[in-house]
Amino acid sequence: MKNIFGLCFCLSVLALVGCGKDDETNTEINNPTTYNFTRDGQSTVSFPGQTTRIAMGTELINAMANFNQSAIGLLEMYANETATGEDANPYANDELNASSKSIKSKTAASTDFFSANTSESATIKADFETWITAQVTEVFPNKNELATPGFAGQIADGSSVRYVNAAGLEYNQVVNKGLIGALIVDQILNNYLSPTVLDAGENKTNNDAGIVDEGSVYTTMEHKWDEAYGYLFGASTDATNPIATLGEGNFLNKYLSRVNDDVDFAGIATDIWEAFKLGRAAIVAGDYDERNDQASIIKELISKAMAIRTVYYLQQGKNALPTSGDNYGSAFHDLSEGAGFVYSLRFLRNPNNADAYFSRSEVDAMMEQLTTGNGFWEITPATLDAMSEEIANKFDFTVAQAGS
């Protein structure tokens, strides 16, 4: 990494010296040791909207396990408004109630993937609302029943109690892990790190000239980059150095940490963080080629981490399937997390072209395989292995590496 950076840096200096046509204030990239960027002594890093949405998501996920919640209340947490579009105050945290932001408006809402694909975006938002509603209409009424094939209820996972639908699926898990893809990853990879967003309007000119947003100390381009960063690290205790406390919150940061703990992928979190930092420093220096290179690294590594975690849960679920009896709880929990991650595959981004790694129909087919009939009650190890292979084949890791 260091060598590549050195080489790139030399080349970019040579390019500058050689052509000398860039008459603006391109300067050397000053890559700080932590994610700290300032202008006139003030920090230019800001992502309160992302921190807010992570907090809204956390409340929603927790509320889905609270039997006193109504479907209307949960849906309002998702949309931060009533079904008729009026202001709602669904959260325990009043700061969230006061916010005009919502999770729903940013679900499957990236510029690159969904600005001209609003029908799929609407389908995806409807999927989340279906799962949220079904938690209340299907699972809550059976909270004091034992789950059996075709019937929702509770099931033991070791000393934990899980509440599943008729197919063995935990809706709160599929919503949680599905939002990691549809909200977090989609916004990072396909929206804020997209040149279309970063370079929109006068962003480049303004950034080159150091023209800041009205009332702010950051340029628009700096802010867009930081908003991507905030979706990953916005709930960190110290977001300037999030690697020190990697894994905080219940969204991407947590599962990146899990992948990073696997010796086969150790260091991936730091690589992603370093790319965020260097890319941001490149924006300050006006070096957009370097910025795009770092964005590509982030797209590649976050996509890979998500795919690894997907395979991990499918494999853990397979391993936990009982060989006799019906002690399915541990397997169902892993497979529920796995289903959420499978749903999230749609939002992964191949850095080498404009495409997603997985099409709508590929993801739909996998979700169908997981939930068809009595779902997890009758899923086979062969199906889970084949699905794992299908996912791993798109990346440079093996099922065995991801599975343990």
């Binding site: 034992l146 509770q154 391993n319 009896g325 019906d326």
Partner: protein, 369 residues
């Protein structure tokens, strides 16, 4: 992983030369040779340790059932004292079978119906006042078993539950249902071992991840790490939370934590060294397995280090108070010291032993969500 004869010969030759020439210990697990008789070990485990342990536990449950019936008929002090005594005997006996989470026990989530602590006091009281509860529901796991009964018998201020409170019909009925359920679950597990699973277990004598030896050793390891090290010591001492959680000690109302800890530790050590349940004989064991591998491969015998480390852990734990709740509150450093001594042996078991036996650890730490 299988070596050809020639490679094996060369390997032994090279290892031999290596040992002779530099007197070093290169115990690369991939070259270790395993000619241990797994079948004989499995038979010994089933016939001389596991089934007798379940039978003995079953006997204590019979006495427990009798004692609660006697108390249900006549709420005398004597009957109450006898009920408490049979609870403790049975709870200690439970420690002998807790590690065998395999077969029917695994299928029916046995251990999570018997010893989830802390008991959910609010849920227990709710069940009692409703009088309408389904103990087979997973959400009632922490409202039953030994910890729930402990709360009911010992769980008031100063460990004295007023006799007239305990004599309420709902309360008596609840205790009775809990004890009956424990007896019936254990009968199911014991009966399956005797009529069905014993042979399956012994015949599954290979060395794959699903073979009996691999599974049983993983269960043993899991029990040692999660239920013994963490459950009895680490969690109340705050090792995983950063703050002391004294109320999460085992048996906090009766103050029998230490007794239960040592009952469990004895069972663990006897299983490891291959002492039969009735203590009359020894058979093939993990200790012998490790010694055998060390001999065959002229490598270090890990079992010696494990047993030494357990002596240190025993010495440390002997300094603990009877009630670990009190120990945490009054001087947690002693708990932490015991934890550290146990943890050193976890490393020996989970890394060195598993490598020497060439068995994969089949569980991962839970996400916590």
């Amino acid at each position: 992983m299988k070596l050809t004869k020639l490679n094996f010969f060369l390997g032994v030759l090279l290892v031999g030369l290596f040992v002779t020439s530099c007197n070093d210990k290169d115990d690369d697990p991939t070259t270790s040779v395993d000619n241990f008789n797994r079948s004989e070990m499995l038979s010994f485990w089933a016939d001389d340790i596991i089934i007798p342990a379940y039978e003995s536990f079953d006997g204590t449950l019979d006495n427990f059932v009798e004692a609660k019936d006697a108390f249900a008929n006549d709420q005398s002090i004597d009957h109450l004292e006898n009920l408490k005594a049979t609870w403790l005997i049975s709870y200690k006996s439970w420690q002998n079978v807790a590690m065998f989470d395999i077969g029917k026990a695994e299928e029916i989530n046995f251990l999570y119906s018997m010893n989830i602590f802390p008991a959910d006091v609010d849920l227990i009281e709710e069940n009692i006042s409703n009088g309408d509860y389904n103990l087979t529901l997973p959400s009632n796991m922490d409202a039953q078993g030994f910890p729930a009964i402990e709360y009911l018998l010992f769980g008031m201020d100063d460990s004295i539950v007023p006799l007239d409170l305990l004599s309420e019909p709902n309360r008596i009925a609840y205790i009775s249902d809990l004890v009956d359920r424990m007896k019936s679950l254990n009968s199911e597990v014991l009966n399956d071992w005797k009529t069905n699973f014993r042979n399956t277990f012994v015949e599954n004598n290979g060395s794959s991840a699903t073979a009996s030896t691999d599974k049983m050793i993983n269960d043993f390891l899991f029990h040692f790490e999660k239920h013994f090290r963490a459950g009895k010591i680490g969690i109340p001492a705050g090792v995983f939370s950063g703050s002391e959680l004294s109320s999460l000690a085992e048996a906090p109302y009766s103050g029998k934590s230490k007794e239960l800890f040592f009952a469990s530790f004895d069972a663990i050590q006897n299983f490891f060294t291959g002492l039969s349940f009735d203590k009359s004989t020894t058979g093939l064991s993990l200790q012998q397995y490790l010694s055998n591998i060390a001999q065959t491969n002229e490598s270090q015998d890990i079992s010696i280090a494990i047993l030494q480390q357990w002596e240190s852990a025993t010495t440390s734990a002997q300094h603990l108070m009877d009630n670990f709740k009190d120990q945490v509150e009054q001087d947690n450093s002693k708990m932490l010291n015991t934890y550290d001594e146990i943890q050193k042996s976890v490393v020996l078991l989970k890394v060195d032993m598993m490598q020497a036996l060439n068995i994969q650890v089949d569980y991962v730490d839970a996400d916590g969500d």
